[in-house]
């Protein structure tokens, strides 16, 4: 008599999936997305589209942009300064966001906080996260006017929400035994945070902050264009929509690309130098 706890497929092979709801949901989501994509393409308005010339002209534009980059409306010094402004925006939003997020995530982590406080912070943060950064910037622009203040506030808001989720999940991974041992010595909550939680999670927190900085740099470029926050993004916006200067667009894109590479290299080096343990 076959044991009933072994599940088999119709053809008699043993099933190793639990066959639970999650699998089902994932499968149906994938099917639905495929259908939606196909339907969307069918309903596009293709009138006036000459695919052949569209492709060659796009290729031509890209060639001008990326093979003949040049500055015409401002000079190197100005460009560097504007990149600095954008970096500054991203930096401010990330650092202030990280500090606030740290304290909020202590309240959100279920192993450090009371059930209700944790739930409230989580819901709150989830709502903030559900609204895209750009929208937050525009919302703050109502009060602060379009400009760097609104941009920083909006980016800050979203960064906090994003980092609270990441941080609190890192905190929840901390070994329960550490809490038990420190509590048993008579340590209070702050002692446990400082000596148990922080050392165990610091490298994760740092990686998340860097990741968010990279995101914020990208957002800051976009905000320069969309919300008049200044910086290289604004120049990009002017070059592309105002002067139609493809060569300048190409130059600015390269500048942004280089900064992104530098950031990446910097964060990798910082981590491998100060936290060799994370590379294992």
């Amino acid at each position: 008599m076959e044991a009933t706890y072994i599940r088999r497929k119709n053809d008699g092979r043993i099933n190793i999936r639990s066959g639970n709801k999650v699998d089902q949901v994932v499968r149906w989501t994938l099917i639905l997305l495929t259908i939606l994509t196909i339907v969307a393409f069918i309903f596009f308005n293709y009138a006036g589209l000459d695919l052949g010339s569209a492709i060659t002209e796009t290729a031509n534009n890209l060639k001008v942009m990326f093979l003949e980059p040049a500055l015409s409306h401002f000079n190197w010094g100005e460009a560097t300064y504007q990149v600095g402004v954008t970096l500054g925006l991203a930096f401010l939003a990330t650092i202030i966001g990280a500090i606030i997020a740290f304290f909020l995530s202590l309240m959100a982590a279920t192993n450090l906080s009371n059930v209700w406080v944790s739930r409230i912070v989580r819901v709150f943060v989830a709502i903030i996260r559900a609204v895209p950064t750009v929208l937050w910037v525009l919302i703050f622009a109502i009060a602060a006017g379009l400009g760097s203040e609104a941009a920083i506030l909006g980016m800050l808001f979203h960064s906090i929400a994003y980092l609270v989720k990441a941080f609190s999940e890192a905190f929840e991974e901390v070994d329960k035994g550490i809490f038990e041992a420190l509590q048993a010595t008579g340590a209070n909550w702050w002692h446990i945070v400082k000596s148990g939680v922080l050392p165990s999670t610091f490298t994760y927190l740092l990686s998340w902050v860097f990741l968010r900085f990279e995101i914020n740099f990208g957002v800051a470029v976009a905000m320069g264009a969309a919300a008049g926050a200044g910086g290289i993004g604004f120049d990009l916006f002017m070059a592309s929509s105002f002067y139609f200067d493809l060569r300048e667009v190409g130059f600015i894109t390269y500048a942004i690309l280089i900064i992104a590479f530098i950031l990446e290299g910097f964060s990798t080096r910082l981590k491998s130098r100060y936290f060799p343990a994370t590379s294992d």
Partner: protein
């Protein structure tokens, strides 16, 4: 005069099952007492009631003339400073150094600010090194704890408990994750803590022979009740059967 007195202790996590039932015992200062019993008997739970890491529902625990059950949060912190704890999985902070982990044992004496700034006095640091030397791991003082072997980590755990200047050390299966030779080192250290320093040890053990070799007294626990309490020599085969609910020949003897 007893250091620890437990009267009618009862504990249940859920309303339907009582994990501990009417536990009574007394321990004198400097005694080495082992608790043995099958898995799930409630050994860990009982040990954690002593410093209220687990809240008990019934009975009374008197430690050093304090009614443990009635203490408020602040008094409980103070009580915990005088009760050290050693764990099966050591429970050190792996990314910190040995010496930092040992000094964590001083938190009970610190204000929030002192703790956050990591302010330890020179005496505390001297004491930490003294203890590390006593347990033979002073060379590793500046290594990260995750670079140490299990036996070495457990010795760090013991140092952390001892720097609290405890009157009682609770050990929850301190040698269950160690090989026989490291186990012997750890048990010898625990024994010398009670004989040389006069610190009471209450140790959960899985190995009956180890308990017999080291303890002044053995408490046998089965399904939340004390079924044996006496010296090693009084622990007959029949008693062991009663504690584990099996024939001795069916047990793997360590």
């Amino acid at each position: 005069m007893s250091l620890l007195k437990v009267e009618g202790l009862g504990k249940s996590y859920t309303s339907d099952i009582k994990i501990l039932k009417n536990i009574n015992f007394e321990i004198k200062a400097g005694e080495f007492v082992s608790i043995i019993g099958p898995s799930g008997a409630g050994k860990s739970t009982m040990l954690r009631c002593m410093n209220r890491m687990v809240e008990f529902n019934e009975g009374k625990i008197i430690f050093n003339n304090n009614d443990v059950g009635s203490l408020n949060k602040k008094e409980l912190r103070k009580l915990r400073t005088s009760i050290g704890m050693v764990f099966q999985h050591y429970n050190l902070v792996p990314r910190l150094t040995v010496i930092e982990n040992v000094l964590h044992g001083r938190f009970g004496y610190k204000t929030t600010m002192q703790g956050i700034l990591g302010r330890y006095t020179e005496e505390e640091k001297e004491r930490a090194f003294y203890l590390l030397e006593k347990l033979g791991i002073h060379e590793h003082a500046y290594k990260r704890c995750d670079q140490l072997s299990g036996g070495q980590q457990q010795r760090v755990g013991i140092c952390r408990a001892l720097i609290q200047e405890p009157k009682l050390v609770l050990c929850d299966e301190p040698i269950a994750s160690l090989d026989p030779s490291s186990s012997k080192i750890i048990m010898d250290h625990l024994k010398s803590i009670s004989t040389e320093m006069g610190i009471t040890c209450l140790v959960n053990l899985h190995q009956v022979e180890v308990a017999q070799n080291y303890s002044d007294r053995i408490i046998g626990l089965n399904k939340g009740e004390i079924v044996f309490s006496g010296t090693s020599s009084e622990l007959s085969e029949e008693q062991i059967n009663k504690i584990y609910g099996t024939e001795t020949k069916d047990l793997i003897m360590a």
